[in-house]
Subunit: 411 residues, 2 copies
Amino acid sequence: MALYVQKYGGTSVGTTERIEAVADKLKAFHDEGHQLVVAVSAMSGETNRLIGLAGAITDNPSPREMDVLVSTGEQVTIALLAMALEKRGITARSFTGWQVGIKTNRAYMKARIEDIETDKMRDVLNSGGIVIVAGFQGVDDDNNITTLGRGGSDTTGVALAAALNADECQIYTDVDGVYTTDPRVVPAARRMDTVTFEEMLEMASLGSKVLQIRSVEFAGKYKVPLRVLSSFKGGNGTLITTEENNSVENPVISGIAFNRDEAKVTVQGVPDIPGVASRILVPVSDANIEVDMIVQNVSEDGSTDFTFTVHRNDYQKALKLLTELAEELNAKGVNGTDDICKVSLVGVGMRSHAGVASKMFKTLADESINILAITTSEIKISVVIEEKYLELAVRALHTAFGLDAEVSEEQ
Amino acid sequence: MALYVQKYGGTSVGTTERIEAVADKLKAFHDEGHQLVVAVSAMSGETNRLIGLAGAITDNPSPREMDVLVSTGEQVTIALLAMALEKRGITARSFTGWQVGIKTNRAYMKARIEDIETDKMRDVLNSGGIVIVAGFQGVDDDNNITTLGRGGSDTTGVALAAALNADECQIYTDVDGVYTTDPRVVPAARRMDTVTFEEMLEMASLGSKVLQIRSVEFAGKYKVPLRVLSSFKGGNGTLITTEENNSVENPVISGIAFNRDEAKVTVQGVPDIPGVASRILVPVSDANIEVDMIVQNVSEDGSTDFTFTVHRNDYQKALKLLTELAEELNAKGVNGTDDICKVSLVGVGMRSHAGVASKMFKTLADESINILAITTSEIKISVVIEEKYLELAVRALHTAFGLDAEVSEEQ
């Protein structure tokens, strides 16, 4: 008997028929004697429907009220799934974020989970019932409803698994595992049986959409074994572990991630004095804009160009903010662009293999792709390039690093 | 400057355009310096959509999960209305039932409000903001979400007005006031400028759908001045007061209510011994079935036929329950029907006028309508008749008691 936390995404619960199919699946696990806590997303399309209602009223809705609005989506799903389980003779109890004490900070629309109460869930589990929890949502200390941002239901699942010390957190989704890269871009992409947290974290942070990054961070931090599986196909999916795969065939690069949601902002010609970076980045952070890559070049006249990348949704906001700050910073100007993307090689094997970066740059150069910025970490190399080269770059790198699946002639 | 609690029903907030129209109306009141607390229903159609989702999964959903499900409807409205107000430069803050501490008992789907916290609402009002509260919902002592049953948003409005000691509770709806009877049945029906709580209570309890009965009880008990107005037309609507209208023209009968949602159950031939009524009605009450009229006839053999009426929705449940109880009660049998209706004359003027009942019975007899049961109170006479005679009975009584509007030839 194990305690599993399972998370079902919007597509998996997209219709009442699919909710019934999830209930069948849960019943099978329950019949095997497992304890189940289930985190669910809104039915697919529902969150967008709600956002559309808000959009019909205002272009600039209050984040607090947006969270009140969109959090209803998951609340609908938990009730329907509990009903479907009860119809199958299984005791089930639904809980919204606040009902199960998912405490977050007050960063509306991108809140972070700070604490989860487990008493009520334990009561239901101990009496043989299944616990259904609304993903994506929580409540702050003042009882304001918060949401964790898009994909936040994954984080809910992992946080529940950590709080309950579950045996495994299983993320059911519409893909059957983690691939070496997006199969829509590279048809030869391969599903990985296992991937390390570090790699997965880099993949997620770099735009691989299988799991939300915070869910991976959470899982790594609390050592929650995390598995990505398909709601529709069978299979064991991909297990995300702390174990490195030490087999001889272990490739240097595990996967290639990419991200189109990029924009870059450059503050030109600011005096190169101590503190200038924080004078630029603190206001950005205060405006709740997350900064990704940061590049600073010193020019010969003692001034510096300071470039950073942000999510494309925050681009206009960041540009406006820095344009307002430019005078105060004695900057020569502010510019930016949002037709860029980021492509990253990820792999724990990089640690023991030199030459990955040079092979990457050569591969891109052979395709005449210009690199606009570079960052590296111990297990990752990222480059910013023009968005139009994205597919070309990913396919060339996937082949160059030996990631392509061996396709038999029969297929 | 006054403190108004206003309630807007599902039709009034049925689209984002109508929500914006409500925001315009609220802005006008706010600009005049009034303090506003607004209770809203789900957008029209939304509650039925949610019930339809549940119905696609099960015919017998758990009441607890139904409340989790349907309470999302009002939560959507509060967020959208708050956004519409903020767009107009007004501070607005939405609250779900649990957020504003609307404590109820645990009678899912027909819970009763026990307490409301006012601190958070006062804070918003004192800072010049408008408070938006989800109608129809609350939370029990164990933080389970509850709903007050259909029409419960009226009760929310009145309970908020009572808790806040508001100057008036204004129920905005799709009719422009309380009429002498339903104008769809009697085109000559007249809007009343005022009606007493007692009369309104009888009208509501007898099926007049303008206000939910519990909202009128609440308003009467806490002396909350209650006004029914149209969201769409202008006008002063109908004020429900503690004052009787003592003018000479005061009619003996104020209005005629009727109710199609009736069913009757008869337990035949139970021994006529002390306690038999409670042995029948306590299990019915325990099953959360509300009993309306009760008629007991003693027959000559020492047994009695015991008849009561219930809401038509509870008919099958009541019939099944009593069929199971019949043996234990030594009853000869149980039967019932749901093709009946109730027609009632209401008026505080009855107190000082004899002959109302006999005039009523004669009017019905003249139309050859058979009376199946009668109950009376100080200001009301109700008869149960076959449903097919409903319109005929109401029109004949409306004319006989002088309630018809004077229609000018031009109209």
